[in-house]
């Protein structure tokens, strides 16, 4: 296999928080290279620092040690090339669905595209997530799943080099979640984005990812194992339930998570 240059390089990253009760080492020696078009899930028990890792990649928090590189350039702050879909959608409630996406489009393409082009791009993104019909609704008027679709549209509208999903479906019911997972797979197949997703759902990780990064527990959490999901795409959830590769991936992750179960819960 030809050695590819990674889009995103996480290199010997450590993160220590200064808390009132002293310093807390959340992450230690995290090394990960993510290639173009790859869909990588990061899974681990709650509080293992996976969200911290995503925040570091997003630039919302700064690394204590090591460095994160996007196409070779050091990440030193947030930016639209690393768009985030937040766990609780984070739509601005005073703007319409259209307005929320347009806000991002205007900021990112303000200098480069005309108003008409930005309008078309906004509508195209809403169409992509099947939300064009609700363009003029307010976030308070649509369901949780729809809000998350709009959040995805807003992030995709920035044309990010890496799309960051922070437990995007965590707050949704199982049926809505399945629909959104299918949508994300479809979009990923169509656009070929590089995606990093935080999740604590084993099935979701196996279904969506090319690679599953399993994180050990904090303090000083790091990458425990990485599992390559050998399933071909497109993947259909119904056919997978008896697929040997699917079951192997699933049990590999389950084994890891069970082994690393914290004693706190017991």
């Amino acid at each position: 296999m030809v050695e590819r240059y990674p889009v995103l390089q996480i290199s010997k990253v450590g993160k220590t928080f200064d808390t009132r009760s002293g310093s807390f080492e959340a992450l230690r020696d995290v090394d990960l290279a993510i290639h173009e078009g790859e869909f990588v899930s990061i899974i681990g028990h709650s509080g293992c620092g996976k969200s911290t890792l995503l925040n570091l990649v997003a630039g919302l928090e700064m690394v204590t040690l090591g460095g994160i590189f996007l196409e070779g350039a050091l990440v030193d702050g947030p930016g639209p090339e690393r768009a985030v879909v937040f766990q609780n959608h984070s739509l601005l409630p005073w703007l319409t669905v259209y307005g929320n996406v347009r806000l991002a489009v205007d900021k990112v393409f303000g200098g480069r595209k005309t108003s008409a082009e930005r309008d078309a791009w906004t509508r195209e993104m809403l169409d992509l997530v099947n939300m064009a019909h609700a363009a003029n609704k307010r976030p308070s008027e649509i369901s949780g799943g729809m809000k998350q679709r709009v959040g995805i549209a807003r992030a995709l509208a920035m044309e990010p080099k890496v799309l960051l999903l922070d437990e995007p479906f965590g707050a949704l019911d199982a049926l809505t979640r399945a629909q959104l997972q299918d949508s994300v797979m479809e979009i990923h197949a169509r656009l070929g984005n590089t995606v990093v997703m935080i999740t604590h759902d084993v099935d979701e990780a196996v279904l969506l990812s090319d690679r599953i990064v399993m994180m050990s527990n904090s303090p000083a959490a790091g990458i425990g194992e990485i599992h390559d999901v050998a399933l071909s795409r497109p993947r259909r959830r119904l056919e997978l339930s008896e697929n040997a590769d699917y079951l192997a991936a699933r049990s590999a992750v389950m084994r890891f998570l069970t082994r690393n179960r914290t004693d706190k819960a017991a």
Binding site: G59, V84, F86, S90, L92
Partner: protein, 297 residues
């Protein structure tokens, strides 16, 4: 901070309270109701029930007047006075003798002047206090001390500084209005979820975009709640302030009529003050609901 928090009415709590009000009249529980109220009955209730209340008050007034306090004017006397006052509301017989409409308008003018001055100062101050911990720590103790003081206590200071009654009355209204505006704006800024700020950071918003696209719209419902509180209180305070300052204005009108021993005029003025207060409240409430994204509507 605790005392300050008491003054803050979170805008999200309000719509529910209003909905409850607007849903009146409440239909009686099914079990006890003999029949479903007809549509006509439902339509008449909001008119009939208050009418009964008013009738009871007038009856009580008449009885009291006839028995305990004969010095108090009876209902027809007040009615005749009202007719007289409203028959020529815009007369001007001199700088100190004008119709009731002028009295109300002078008072309203002072209220609005003080109110808008308070907005001009209070909104930026609220933003600074809400957004900046240093400002908050520096200014909140002073605000906590001054806020419980009756605004009328500032009137002598206004007179001393401005050497004129009109600016002093406006100054008192300014003091009245500014605390709810500052505190609610600051509370609104503090209540902005970190998520909105993260969205803005991912989009690389600069300081100006941060203020115009996140801070102001996110805080607007809180600001408007503060403004509604301010305006209502300001209208109450102006009456007392004008009693002390004199000149033209509904407050001094009441004091003047007391000196003339014309109690019917005072009662008419009280009703007028109440009606103007309702109009201010309704207008401000309308504006607030227009910009309140927290309710579903």
């Amino acid at each position: 901070m605790k005392t300050a928090a008491l003054a803050i009415v979170a805008p999200m709590e309000e719509p529910s309270a209003e909905k409850r009000e607007s849903r009146e009249p409440v239909s009686p529980p099914r079990e006890t109701a003999r029949h479903e109220p007809s549509r006509l009955e439902m339509a008449l209730r909001p008119v009939l029930l208050p009418a009964i209340t008013f009738a009871l008050v007038l009856l009580g007034w008449t009885v009291m007047q006839a028995t305990f306090v004969p010095a108090f004017p009876d209902v027809p006397a007040v009615w005749n006075k009202a007719v007289e006052i409203f028959s020529n509301p815009f007369y001007v017989y001199g700088p100190n003798d004008m119709g009731i409409a002028w009295q109300v308008m002078y008072s309203l003018g002072r209220v609005l002047a003080g109110f808008f001055l308070a907005l001009a100062v209070g909104i930026p101050a609220g933003f600074l206090i809400g957004a900046n911990r240093t400002f908050e720590q520096a200014w909140m103790p002073l605000i906590a001390i001054l806020r419980p003081v009756s605004p009328l206590a500032w009137l002598p200071i206004g007179l001393l500084v401005f050497r004129a009654v009109d600016p002093s009355a406006i100054f008192v209204i300014f003091i009245t209005s500014i605390w709810p505006v500052i505190l609610n704006t600051a509370a609104g800024v503090k209540a902005i979820p970190q998520d909105y700020l993260n969205v803005a950071r991912v989009l690389n918003f600069n300081r100006r975009e941060m203020v115009t696209k996140i801070y102001v719209p996110a805080t607007l419902p809180y600001m408007l709640t503060g403004m509604q509180l301010s305006l209502g209180t300001a209208w109450m305070v102006i009456v007392a302030a004008e009693m002390l300052t004199g000149g033209i204005g509904i407050g001094f009108y009441i004091w003047d009529e007391w000196n003339n021993l014309s109690v019917p005029s005072i009662i008419v003025a009280i009703v007028i003050i109440g009606c103007v207060g309702i109009m201010l409240e309704t207008g401000m409430g309308f504006v607030r609901r227009r910009y309140d994204y927290t309710g579903k509507e």
